[in-house]
Symmetry: C2
Subunit: 139 residues, 2 copies
DNA sequence: TGTATTTCCTACTAAATTGATAGGATTAAT
DNA sequence: ATTAATCCTATCAATTTAGTAGGAAATACA
């Protein structure tokens, strides 16, 4: 299941990408418009900022903004920040690989083989999708 | 993340598919060979039986057996029984559809669009994979 | 300089899920 | 009868999820 965190995060990013103004977008606005608990969203945007996807400005007239063009923001990156590893098992994860304690030889493991395929397919979706696709912006 | 339940279930099914004998396969044997807590595995095989994928025989010399040929057992069915819905969000689930309370129009929802793609790709893997592929059996 | 407004940070919490374990009932072969 | 297997229910500890609470820090602007 997709976590609320990821869902909210994606919606927020889309909202920001669609914003015409060159002023930073405030959490309160997004929360209200997208029906997301504000305090929860604060935390999510914070991790997106720490990961480098968003930038922020504090104080009055502060808010969040994208640090790249929507078309440059790949879903692989966004999903890894919000949802964690894309692979369903650590033993097929590219970025967070971990051997299974059980499995003596993962080349012979039936689960491994299947999950590699799932990973590759999911990855191809995320690699070929940017925030511009999500938000229907051409930028 | 793939649950242990699913992982163990897939391994057990593979084990049973590979078994040459026409006697039913006992839980204890699988548990030992695949390093799975026996009592936990009992429950898993039980749900696989209730779903119709496995058959069982009670009492001495009892155990579990496949109710179809491995090549007839599709991963879509197995995964739905073990892991639940294949979609990452209920609003793109074919078998367990549910509307999101927030989303006023899901055709305009950016998350929806993305998750449809992920679902379709994952589904195509599971539709084109059978237990025979997992277990390298030709049957 | 002060006040309002915003992000930032830490800590806490209730509920759900996961990964088991325990104990025994039921069924079948010998 | 005895033994060996599945079947069934209940319980539990640890983790994760989805928030909430309260305030510190920074910034704009009067």
């Amino acid at each position: 299941m997709l976590s609320k965190k990821t869902k909210y995060g994606l919606k927020a990013l889309t909202y920001i990408a669609r914003s015409e103004s060159d002023m930073p977008v405030q959490v309160g606005l997004i929360a209200k418009s997208e029906q997301i608990p504000q305090k929860f969203l604060e935390g999510i945007l914070l991790t997106l900022r720490k990961s480098g996807i968003l930038g922020s400005k504090k104080g009055k007239h502060g808010g969040y903004y994208l640090r790249s063009l929507p078309s440059e923001i790949k879903m692989t990156d966004v999903m890894r920040v919000l949802e964690g590893p894309i692979a369903m098992v650590p033993c097929v994860s590219l970025n967070y690989y971990e051997k299974c304690d059980d499995c003596p030889d993962e080349n012979l493991c039936s689960v491994h083989k299947l999950m590699i395929q799932v990973r590759d397919n999911t990855l191809s979706v995320f690699r070929n999708t940017t925030l511009a696709d999500l938000s229907n912006t051409s930028k």
